[in-house]
């Protein structure tokens, strides 16, 4: 959800802008796809840690340091999963022909109004696949979480890491329970999203 909020403006800008800086920004957004999660986790840890630039700034402002907290974990997953939100949205936005926006403008709709009344409904399939991909990716991630979350039980322990722990200590029964649970849960979420998508798609063609 948070990612959709952050990713939407970025995707919109990437889809519409003709500025030269667009390509570098697109590359940065896509970087987490290429890099091993540990690289990302490592730099986030350095940046946000007590000696990193952001970390020391937060420290001097009297804020809690982010690494090894739930908030830190959320921020790290967001950066890591950003491309999975931005790419489908960007594609969907690019498919909304600019003529529809021009038409909306000539019908007195302001740019923000155009976005919510024309772009969002026309790009809803993009929003759904962004949600699916992001969800899938966030649930399944491991490396970044381990690096920045620190695997503190009850606070920053996520399922994927928990399963890893269980397997490491040869507790296969628990590992089975959690793994099977995750498969079932993920399947349910995906089926729900796809069937919603299918229904909307069919409705639009009628």
């Amino acid at each position: 959800m948070l990612l959709l909020l952050v990713g939407t403006p970025i995707a919109w800008w990437l889809a519409r802008s003709k500025h030269w800086i667009r390509q570098p920004v697109a590359a940065i957004v896509a970087l987490p796809l290429v890099l091993p999660p540990t690289v990302l986790g490592f730099y986030l840890l350095v940046l946000l840690g007590p000696n990193g630039p952001i970390g020391s700034a937060m420290d001097s402002l009297g804020l809690t340091l982010l690494p090894f907290t739930f908030e830190g974990l959320v921020i790290a997953s967001m950066i890591y999963s950003l491309p999975f939100t931005v790419q489908p949205l960007q594609n969907a936005f690019q498919n909304v022909h600019h003529r529809y926006l021009e038409a909306a403008a000539t019908l007195s709709a302001s740019p923000i109004d155009q976005f919510f009344s024309v772009v969002v409904p026309m790009a809803r399939a993009g929003f759904l696949s962004a949600a699916v991909l992001t969800f899938a990716h966030t649930v399944g991630e491991f490396g970044v979480v381990l690096m920045i979350g620190g695997n503190i039980p009850g606070e920053t322990k996520v399922l994927s890491v928990a399963i890893y722990d269980h397997v490491e200590s040869l507790e296969y029964v628990q590992a089975h329970w959690l793994s099977a649970g995750m498969i079932a849960f993920s399947f349910l979420v995906l089926v729900t999203l796809y069937s919603i998508n299918g229904r909307i798609g069919a409705g639009a063609l009628k």
Partner: protein, 360 residues
């Protein structure tokens, strides 16, 4: 900045291989046609007027300034409506919601056109709950026109609204456009490359070529220019507004009166007395006699005055401008006939009109 009535549009912009430079003052009512070949800049000019395309210049509509050298009003703050060439209906909304899109965004106090009116004018009753994807091209364009006028605009811009349609759909929409022209007191700027559409709809015409205005003026006068700026060649001719005065059912004829005389035209079922019609008389269908001959087959003999004689496309032919009352006509004659009849400006002659067409 004070700006007078009428539409003033002055724009200048440059793209690779194309430059637009126009300075127009157009009437503040009626249909103005922007006419020219594709690529002449007519659509670009229309987009500049709407503000969809940025260009240096000024734009004002009946005293309301939309753009000048210091400020530009964004598109959604301009009281205009725009009909695009291809369908621009929102595919995710029903016809009714498409129509309401602009209507809802128009302040209540400014709503001069109501939903019921637009639906009735454009015959949209049975389409309201359909999705745009299931409509025919003609229906879609009718809905688009309805959606546009429901913003109660001060200027309606139409970018070749019929170009993407087949002949049958064009015929279907034309009467709606005519009735809009006659029932809305709203200036319309209509981009077209079709001489037939222009002849039927326009009151004022602007001919463009390579980003510049080549000729401009009221339709009748401009079409009757002997230098033929529109390059209609064989189809050169005049348009005149006339009123049906008399029906002659035995001969299937009707008498149409115009300013300066009358013409007998072939009657048809849809004509009725008092109806306003547009007639087209091609230059090649007009010949000239010095005396009134009653012993010949042509029914339409009109006294007229020679106004101007000019060389036509080839040196062998001449374009003669005649005036009957206040109405100009063109006649294409051979240069030899002009010589033999000793035609001179101001000479009184009889104009023989071989055929007249009702424009539709």
């Amino acid at each position: 900045m004070t700006v007078g009535p009428g539409i003033k549009a002055r724009f200048q912009c440059r793209y690779p291989g194309f430059e637009l430079a126009v300075d127009l003052k157009l009437p503040g009512s009626g249909v103005t046609a922007l006419f020219g070949h594709s690529g002449c800049g007519k659509t670009t000019l229309l987009r500049c007027m709407a503000g969809l395309q940025r260009a240096a210049g000024t734009m004002s509509v009946n005293g309301d300034c939309w753009q000048n050298d210091t400020q530009t009003r964004p598109v959604h703050h301009r009281p205009l409506a725009y009909v695009f060439q291809e369908t621009s209906l929102f595919p995710h909304l029903t016809v009714r919601k498409n129509l309401l899109y602009g209507y809802r965004r128009t302040p209540k106090a400014n709503r001069r056109i109501q939903m019921d009116q637009a639906i009735q004018w454009l015959g949209l009753e049975h389409l309201l709950d359909r999705m745009p994807g299931g409509l025919s091209g003609g229906e879609r364009q009718r809905v688009a026109i309805g959606r546009a006028i429901l913003t109660s605009p001060n200027l309606l811009l139409m970018d070749e609204p019929l170009a993407a349609l087949d002949q049958a759909s064009k015929q279907e929409i034309m009467p709606y456009l005519e009735s809009l022209r006659d029932s809305l007191s709203l200036p319309i700027i209509y981009v077209s490359h079709s001489a037939a559409e222009v002849a039927r709809l326009a009151d004022h015409i602007v001919m463009m070529d390579r980003g510049r205005v080549v000729a401009e003026g009221p339709l009748q006068e401009t079409l009757a220019r002997t230098d033929q700026p529109f390059g209609l060649e064989e189809d050169a001719g005049v348009i005149l507004n006339a009123t049906v005065r008399e029906m002659e059912p035995n001969w299937h004829l009707a008498r149409a009166e115009f300013e300066g005389g009358h013409l007998w035209i072939r009657s048809r079922d849809s004509l009725h007395q008092g109806q306003r019609i547009r007639l087209q008389v091609l230059a090649r269908d007009v010949s000239i006699a010095l005396k009134e001959h009653s012993d010949q087959s042509i029914q339409n003999l009109i006294p007229a005055r020679v106004d101007e004689i000019a060389t036509d496309l080839s040196p062998g032919t001449a374009m003669v401008r005649l005036v009957a009352g206040n109405t100009p006509f063109l006649a294409r004659l051979t240069s030899r006939s002009v010589e033999c009849l000793d035609l001179q400006p101001e000479r009184r002659v009889w104009m023989q009109v071989k055929s007249v067409a009702i424009v539709d």
